[in-house]
Subunit: 472 residues, 3 copies
């Protein structure tokens, strides 16, 4: 009944990868200049400013840190017998890919061959990890730990390239990462899931692919902390009034999505009862759907509308689309990331395109250059010191053109994610990589030492079921 | 055995209410001025100051956000079979009433018919939601979800009016909201509970009105996060030295209440064992009892004394008063909000009256005007730009007069809460609103799809109780 | 089968201690000067600066607060039948000792016989509480609540003296508290455990000294929140670039330790399966091991190396050392604090000695005086207003000399902790203090009213085990 946790070679390889990362860090990274000691005493005062601006982001960073390491972890504990893996592997995968994300994302901001490391890189790494954890959600319970790690390594490399492409070259507006993080992570994971799809006769929910009363409560820990800190996720990369608008819009969108989720869940469910799957996931769709537009002038009522639509779409997705995808395409999506991250992210991109089309200097004033950098005029002499870099399609875009580029960003992202995911899935399926047996699906026991429940019952003096039975 | 979750009409109505909220937001709200783009470039520098001051409150806001959405949610999961409702309905009710609170509270601060929305409104909305969640605690397990939502809508409207009355017209000092939030929420909920009281023969604890080992642990998640972030709740609305004093006093009061709670719990309980109900709730009474006075010069020892008294009163309330109220008045109070919020809040108001009586310009210096605004002289020419508004009883109050107004604030608040709660209970009891059947009390299964425990046992290879029984 | 929770006298004594604390607070403490009202209006502006600098630390404080009250609490809930004690007694012990720590630590910073209280004291008190909670981890399930409280009182007094000795007199660099908190708490607790060691024939793991599936998940709440906020713990007492380096280094060290922990856990465990004990604890060893050096120029790769080594040592400790210590020395270490806190802290001290040896004004520039204060020249006229205080061995240390003092700090700390722990254990063993019976080990039921599981099973309509059995 017991199978070996994994080939020893897998975990040995993990150690080797960690050592390689250390070597890369040794040769290619150092603290950012403002974090190195000041040799010249007079230079001290001028250096104080930039470092302070990083530390000002620290509370935002910690909120995101809670989302990545506690929110995602506990949300995934909903399966009745996969809680060790959900909370443990979330920690392992994230710990590995944040290191790798610092390197991969750093490639695009090297100075003299060295990646300058500050709190900014940590925030970026945590956000990148979210993409991998979203993909993990699609595959939850269907891979070995080593497969997840391999996927994470490949995904981060592609993620970093795509992020650079969309934000720096296409210059899409996406402060909350709906395009670069949520859409990317969801469709990447679904593509991997497609490659790992079971044989025809096995394409059904397994016996352990459900929750228990207790695991549903622990999943709510994840949901609620994600819900609480989502405004920090969406607003971390902007400042001032933009940041405060991002907070307000995300807060309202989440509230709207939550109300819509409960109402729809009862209306479409069996006997009009509420479904925990919807409550745990669709309530968060409002945070995703407002991601690309949360710093725009969508106004409070706009934020609520976006949230309500996201909640409705997400519940309908769980109720009707996920079962259809499983039975028709045999794509399993354990956590339903298509409904929580995929569709709401596409919605966000579409909204961002619409709002961008109507954006102009009249409505956005001086903040237009911050929100839609490519809409600035190419020879902008009023902001000295910040040279305009190369962007696809050039500067001086009209609103409509920016709107088109928003759609290009989501289209390119989905294409890259799907192709990347398919290739990654091919690698994970290769004979040299250990696959899960069917009886190991959604079960900790294959990879974890798990406490024997029997002995608990016997030794505990207050749990009487066994005794009662044996008294008969 | 299964009854329909709720009439479809209830959840349809919820969607309608959400749409109405969106329309109201569309016509009556917009971002506060400092969050709208700057058209005039020269105006940018001057606008930077106020927005920064809002964002400075963001970490405080997030702490309160954790209390409302994680703290209250998990604290209420203590019932053995009501965890889905506790964590889920907390999220639903709060998501609905924060929207409504922004509107209702905004009525008193409209500018040109528009409610200006900033981070301040979000903080205020979260605090208002606390009042509703406290009332929900009194009723936990005794209402349908729709009844809770109806109650929340009515309660917020009354809450906003009472808050304006006490803080702007009576000008009571209440930075931690003990009067306007805790006393209001507790007595409102108890009044509703009185209206929904069971028939005489049913006034006893139901079979599911208790905890399980696991649910007591998950309730501790709520307790501990509420405990941790209470200093943020009490200090969010003040600044500088006032804020730091509020933090220190709340911290010490909670510590004192916790020690007193454990000692009393053991001393008054059966076999001198500790009672989880006390630990989960009375430890927090110190945060409530110091609420109205936490920014005053109560000094560290004063904060400890207040906390100890609150812990003692709260434990005694759970041990002796709650059972008496249930048997004599048939007022059920599932979470014991009278002991955690009600009595400690009254205590806080009494203390605030005493401390106010001794307050003077000699002791408080220049901060007197901030702490007790109505004690300023009416023609205060030293603070230009801030016109003194209308207050009941006028400015230039003596300490003793301010003390009397503190008592007036708690008296008025309790009267308004009780009358409001009774009327609300009358509405909730009306034949057009679905009531709980007796067998549905304190049970998720009536409104939630719950996992079948039987199938868990059968499929899990490590849980042997069923098998053992059937082997005989 | 039921034994009284504790002698009434124990809890009465607790109340007396609380009253004594209030009296001491009344006579010996007050708010720090900048928190007292400004009498002179012109003085207001100058006073604004220092208070702001305290409040700037508030988010860091709250992160640490989460670690102490939620992190430690839930980490210790891993035992299958000790969750009430773990989460409850953590709250009680911490609430008592933070008060006492404010007094004891305040003895060394009195002004005119009064301890000035600000947010700084609260941060210091929380950090001191960590030492006691670490010791509690070593003893978990083997003491009565009253024994824990007695230990906490004694330990804080010794802790405060040792902290002053190492930081102010020896002038060791230890911003993350690895020496003064982690090593001290671990070895103190182990020394107490040695004194309370069982008779020879009982030196084995008891029947309840293990986890259940659910308790392992709730322990992960603790692990994950500790993991998330460890960078705040290590960086709370420094500022600017030092703080940002401390954050980055701790973040990376934790990531490295986590990867190493998982790999090693699988490699050394039975059937190469992952062990939850390692995941819950050794992942955090990276935070301890980087504690004393996190603000130094260890560079990102150095932080990763430290973390990896800590993870490896910690897992090996759990796997091989803890069982050996138990069987050879009969020192029980329920949570394995020697592997999570003890050895990684010694490692940190050794690293700090090495790094200090190479420190110089050339590498550290102007920040040398902040990081290694005793390496400043004794007549430092460039920083007026800060008189140099007495330090052992005098100012103007070379790097090598500072390195030697780092080793002296860890050596002295371990000696003081062990002697203090042995004496404390002697007191706890005295006949006047109630001891645990063997059948009370690792069990809540002796001191807590626990819900009867039987009634749960009977009344719940969805739990069918009992019914099934009785149908036969």
């Amino acid at each position: 009944m017991h199978t070996p946790g994994s080939s020893v070679s897998g975990y040995t390889l993990l150690l080797v990868v960690q050592v390689v990362f250390i070597i890369v860090f040794g040769f290619c990274t150092d603290y950012a200049k403002e974090l190195l000691p000041v040799k010249n005493e007079t230079a001290k005062t001028t250096a104080a400013e930039p470092e302070a601006s990083n530390l000002r982001k620290y509370p935002h960073f910690q909120d995101i840190h809670v989302m990545i390491f506690a929110g995602f972890a506990f949300l995934m504990t909903f399966l009745k017998r996969y809680g060790f893996s959900a909370s443990g592997l979330n920690l392992l995968v994230a710990s590995l890919v944040i290191q790798w994300a610092i390197i991969m994302r750093g490639c695009y901001e090297m100075e003299d061959g060295i990646i300058p490391i500050s709190l900014q890189n940590l925030i970026g790494a945590d956000i990148a990890a979210a993409a991998v954890l979203i993909s993990m959600g699609a595959l939850l319970g269907r891979t070995t730990p080593i497969q997840l790690l391999i996927m994470g390594i490949i995904e981060i490399a592609i993620f970093a390239g795509n992020e650079y492409l969309q934000l720096e070259l296409v210059r899409a507006a996406d402060v909350g990462g709906s395009i670069t993080v949520h859409a990317f992570g969801a469709y990447f994971g679904l593509a991997v899931s497609f490659m790992l799809r079971p044989k025809k006769e096995q394409a059904r929910a397994g016996p352990l692919e459900g929750s228990s009363y207790g695991s549903d409560i622990s999943a709510m820990i994840g949901t609620i902390f994600l819900w609480i800190f989502w405004p920090s996720f969406n607003s971390a990369l902007v400042d001032g009034a933009d940041q405060e608008r991002a907070i307000i819009n995300t807060y309202l969108s989440l509230a709207g999505a939550t109300v819509a989720t409960f109402a729809l869940s009862a209306l479409v469910s069996h006997e009009h009862k509420l479904d925990m799957v919807h409550v745990q996931n669709s309530t968060l769709a409002g945070g995703v759907a407002v991601g690309s537009i949360c710093n725009l002038l969508i106004h409070p009522f706009g934020a609520l509308i976006v949230g309500v639509i996201a909640g409705v779409i997400s519940v309908l997705g769980y109720r009707f689309l996920t079962p259809a995808i499983l039975s028709k395409l045999r794509i399993a999506d354990t956590c339903g990331v298509h409904n929580l991250h995929g569709m709401p992210a596409v919605l966000s991109a579409i909204f961002s395109s619409i709002y961008a089309s109507f954006a102009s200097h009249e409505t956005y004033g001086t903040s237009l250059a911050t929100i839609f950098p490519a809409m600035q005029q190419p020879t902008n002499g009023t902001e000295p010191g910040e040279p305009l870099e190369y962007v696809i399609g050039g500067y001086g875009r009209t609103g409509a053109k920016q709107g088109a580029f928003q759609l290009m960003a989501i289209g390119l992202t989905m294409a890259i994610a799907i192709v990347g995911g398919l290739l990654t899935g091919l690698i994970l399926k290769s004979p040299s990589v250990r696959q899960l047996e069917e009886h190991e699906l959604h079960k900790d026991d294959a990879f974890w030492e798990t406490p024997s429940e029997e002995s608990t019952t016997t030794t505990s003096t207050t749990s009487n079921t066994t005794q009662e039975a044996s008294h008969q």
